[in-house]
Symmetry: none
Subunit: 215 residues, 4 copies
């Protein structure tokens, strides 16, 4: 029952080939024929499975995010506190990309080609991802482990941004360090902050920036 059809296999082969090709040459420099030959099929066959070259990148993101968001959601459901939710998300985020360096290149760099793509992704799966983070933060606030006075949106972006910057750094450093093991320290930093003590943070009055317009 539910035996995969031969064509499903071909679809996946195209996506796998695309990751390799995009990662090594970049999206723009990659030709559809590169992907086709890496997948062992004819150029035209690509168009039986994808609308166009952009569509390959979009579907690639869709597939991977779909699977991994679901996996993260399931694990979250089984966790009993909100801080663990954040740890699970960070583990998944760094784990997925840390285990797939080529995919990381595609996600950190190639996927951000243009506002067109960015808006598309931000509106779909990435929104789901942000919602997941924000829900965890809200849950933390409910259970009293996360500060009430925190903007959930801001915190969500800070949480995502910290992970994202680290992955990009890892990609550009050509995987020179272990990405996965950074999940814990990042979450810890997010939760406890960088300051040595609350007292230290009390800001002394400071001259305001002369924020004249233009640059």
């Amino acid at each position: 029952m539910m035996a995969r059809r031969r064509t499903d296999d071909k679809r996946q082969r195209i996506l796998d080939a695309a990751v390799q090709v995009f990662a090594s040459k970049g999206f723009f420099a990659s030709r559809v024929s590169d992907i086709a030959s890496a997948a062992g099929i004819a150029d035209g066959t690509v168009y039986l499975y994808f609308r166009n070259k952009d569509d390959i990148l979009i579907k690639l993101f869709d597939d991977v995010m779909g699977v991994h968001l679901e996996a993260a959601r399931q694990e979250i459901r089984a966790a009993d506190n909100a801080l663990d939710h954040l740890r699970i998300i960070a583990d998944h985020h760094l784990g997925l990309l840390g285990r797939n360096p080529e995919l990381a290149v595609v996600f950190q760099v190639e996927l951000r080609q243009s506002t067109k793509f960015m808006e598309l992704f931000t509106a779909s799966w990435l929104k789901d991802y942000f919602d997941l983070v924000e829900a965890a933060i809200a849950a933390g606030q409910s259970e009293g482990t996360i500060r009430e006075d925190l903007s959930r949106k801001l915190a969500t972006h800070a949480f995502f941004g910290a992970l994202d910057a680290i992955v990009t750094s890892w990609v550009l450093a050509r995987n020179a360090f272990d990405l996965t093991e950074l999940a814990k320290p990042v979450v810890d930093l997010f939760l406890t902050g960088a300051a040595a003590s609350a007292a230290a943070v009390v800001a002394k009055p400071r001259r305001a920036l002369k924020s004249a317009g233009g640059r």
Copy 2:
């Protein structure tokens, strides 16, 4: 009929035009002739000031970063504590881009076209920026306001990543909120963390991720 003196501001006019054109059409879709006509000059003139289209983007980044890093450095020199250094950096980061939405589009999206650009920028000005942040964190550790047990590299990436994610969000939300005023809350979050109390963060044992290889 038109003055032909090298004292012209042509170089700057090209850069200004490029920001507008790149922001509205994207780097790849922008033709050199679009930039030239936006700058009110002939196509070929662009090549008297820049080696090629890539070079415009590179020089744009160089110029802006050069000016603003120096401004930030000067202000930092006048500040008497490390936490203010971080506040200054965040103010400049969000202030610069918040006052120049088109520039923000270019910096958040167009500049990240390819590993080629990313590596180039990461190796030059962005490295200087990271060094500035890292120096502030190190100074905080010296003066006792920032935790000693914190990885400076990790903290630097988390700090930058939080700001960066917020700017990107602001860009994709088409400037729907005030970016500049987020500097303070972001730095506060970075310093004090999201947790309600240190006690809350003590992690309970959690099932390890089934980190099977591949994706």
Copy 3:
């Protein structure tokens, strides 16, 4: 609507079109799109058969020389004396170009654009041609019909040069005379010389040229 089979004669149609176009506009002024439309195909199709514009010219020369050198060689093999070898070569040389005025333009003018082409051709087929002439001269020396004291290299160049100059003249005179029928008189001149008698050639002492350097 149009058969898309690789069995097509497209390669030959491109070469034929190229001869016409090159002959009428010159190699540099000829656009690839001129050749494509003369061949009744799309611009891009040219690049399925040839690497670039230069390659068309190179392959054109290759094809024609390949066929005609072989034809000349076969006829030479059937001839029983060396002087006939020279006559066969001259017949072929003037015959081929005399029957194909556009090809003659390409061979006499367009093919000599640059040292790049010249060196390329001189190193390949033209070398074969020169070898053929030199072999005929050597054979004549063996059989006693050609002077032993003659430099074969010099004679080869003189033989080729005489034919070549005549073809160029015919091309520039826009085919104003019959080229083919000049084969016999050229070979006769090459063999018997211009002097009325051997006695006439005895040189009287002559002032040496004042060969000061520079020009």
Copy 4:
């Protein structure tokens, strides 16, 4: 008296620079600015002395041919027999180019870019050169040293072609042999022919070429 104006000097510097630049990069690849900077002047100055880039090549040929044809004519006037006229012409031809390898490159290769140039040169100085050769041959026929039954046109082209082919060969061989000393053997070959004896040349009947049209 007749002191050269400064500008005449500049004209000559441009021509000298052009020979070097054309010889090393080829006419098409040579930029006017290359010539200008080799001559130590501004780009625009070239156009005070020459109409355009083509004009430089044309005037270069004009100047050199003007001087050398006149020199050859003077020497011929002082010679008392027609065969010496031919020897003088060959000496000049090979001497001029043999002493100026860069000029030889320009004359043998760059000058033959297009039918446009070829026709131009053939109609002007080259015609004078051919007339000089033809006059020498006619004089030889008058004085009985050159065969009466020889086509003067054909002989002229054969004579020129032999010299020309040798120079081209010398250029492509990167001046690997002494060009000047070939003048005598070339003229000797032209006068006495390659055949060992007149008897040897009597052609046996030979199959006609199957001169079908097309190629």
